[in-house]
């Protein structure tokens, strides 16, 4: 866990909330919750050291590996 990344993301998220929230006042609750949940996902992901853990590309490569091998032949 890298604190720098986490704090920076948290700071950016804070700014986003400050800027966007007043505009969303009249919006339905669903929208507000979606907004917050997405931000929280972002915050959650920022806690990991992303470049060094197996990412989606690896999973996909794993799935499609057989095809790739055909091509490599």
């Amino acid at each position: 866990m890298k604190w720098g990344n986490f704090l920076a993301t948290a700071f950016i998220i804070l700014i986003i909330i400050l800027l966007q929230w007043p505009k969303m006042k009249q919006k339905p609750k669903k929208e507000k919750s979606a907004f917050i949940v997405l931000l929280l996902i972002g915050l959650f992901l920022s806690m990991f050291d992303l470049p060094y853990i197996g990412g989606p590309a690896k999973w996909i490569e794993y799935v499609f590996n057989p095809f790739g091998e055909i091509l490599e032949k």
Partner: protein, 403 residues
């Protein structure tokens, strides 16, 4: 009104963060002032000791340039101040030597303007591929930089002075641009060495000395070409032979063709000469042959012979002589390349590959053996189209007037 207020807060925050980040960011990373870089104008690579190389850089001195160009500085009128200096360092490979050099220079080495790379003869004989890897991988050296091989130590050439140009590097670059000798860029070299033939020819530099009355002056001169096969220099062909290569490669541009018509004394010179060259590969069973087809035209620039070219029958004789001259030249060099050097610097392999891909694949791996056996046929057509501002040779006139 709350809406407007929030809008303002938003814009203000964005503005502040924008400005803040700009101030945080500026002043670091990739910014290099022109007075913090050492502009490399030419590079020389030499062999040093057993397993080491010596990397020499010719570096531009902006201070001196400013002096020589400003009117007050040039008042002395004495010797031209040197605009460059050479610094060298050894290392196991280029990157290593470079990092050592960087430690010696107060400014960051900048390759972006380096247009001349010279390999010393020794290192060229040992192999240049390893060094090309660095030049091609590093983002700064240019693909358009010219490549040379020098007789003796390459570093010496960098140290030479130049009378007309800013530096010896500039001299060499301009020389190549005139297209008197071969013109090989880094990209070309890379392409030639990885192509089917795996052979290349590079301009070969020599240091010449001109003895003046007070002091002698040394200058670099392109003197034929170095032939590189796989990645080693295997031989050398003279300037005269290089012209033959230029003929076949269709690169002759600004040089004068001089030949002697049969049975007549004196020479005729042609300039400019234009040519169209085709290499037509032919395969007949196991016999591989190459048809060299040259169509050329020239303008008479000097006529010292006793032939009046305005006479049509004479013209035929002259044209025949012109034709033979070219043929001789081309034959000579092909002979040398095929049998002596055994390096396909003329790109025959490529032609065969393109025309006969199937047959080519069979010999792909033993092209070295096949190449010397390729028969060469010639089809040369040479014409003289113009004879310049005067028609008869000057000699004739004088004689006529006498009579």
């Amino acid at each position: 009104m709350p809406k407007r207020r929030s809008h303002f807060i938003k814009k203000f925050l964005i503005f502040i963060s924008f400005i803040g980040s700009i101030f945080l960011l500026s002043g670091c990373w990739d910014r290099w002032e022109t007075n913090d870089i050492a502009i490399v104008t030419a590079t020389a690579i030499d062999k040093k000791g057993d397993n080491q190389i010596e990397l020499s850089l010719q570096i531009f001195i902006p201070k001196a340039f400013g002096m020589s160009s400003s009117p007050s500085g040039g008042a002395g009128g004495g010797a031209v101040k040197e605009l460059t200096f050479v610094i060298s360092q050894k290392g196991v490979n280029m990157a290593d030597a470079l990092s050592k050099l960087q430690a010696e220079l107060p400014r960051k080495i900048f390759w972006g303007q380096c247009k001349v790379f010279i390999f010393g003869e020794k290192i060229a004989k040992e192999g240049i591929q390893d060094h090309l890897d660095f030049l091609l991988r590093h983002p700064q050296p240019r693909e358009r930089a010219y490549m040379f091989v020098s007789k003796g130590k390459a570093k010496h050439i960098l140290e030479l002075q130049s009378r007309l140009e800013r530096s010896s590097a500039e001299t060499m670059r301009e020389l190549v641009d005139l297209e008197i000798g071969l013109k090989v860029t880094l990209k070309d070299l890379n392409e030639m060495l990885t192509s089917e033939a795996q052979a290349a020819a590079l301009p070969y530099l020599k240091t010449m000395t001109e003895k003046g009355k007070k002091k002698s002056f040394q200058f670099p001169k392109i003197f034929g070409s170095a032939v590189i096969k796989k990645d080693q220099m295997v031989g050398y062909i003279s300037q005269r032979e290089t012209r033959g290569i230029l003929w076949i490669r269709d690169e002759i541009k600004s040089y004068t063709v001089t030949f002697e018509p049969e049975e007549k004394k004196g020479n005729i010179s042609l300039n400019p000469v234009t040519a169209k060259v085709d290499l037509i590969p032919q395969i007949n069973g196991v016999n591989w042959s190459m048809l060299v087809k040259i169509q050329t035209e020239g303008t008479v620039i000097q006529n010292n012979s006793s032939l009046d070219t305005s006479n049509l029958s004479n013209l035929k004789v002259v044209e025949k002589a012109f034709q033979d001259g070219i043929r001789k030249r081309v034959e000579f060099v092909i002979e040398k390349v095929q049998n002596e050097l055994r390096a396909d610097i003329l790109g025959f392999a490529k032609e065969f590959h393109r025309e006969y891909p199937k047959q080519w694949r069979k010999v792909e791996n033993r092209w070295d053996e096949v190449f010397p056996k390729v028969k060469i046929k010639y089809d040369i057509k040479a014409h003289i189209r113009k004879e310049g501002y005067i028609n008869k040779p000057m000699k004739f006139r004088i004689e006529e007037e006498k009579e």
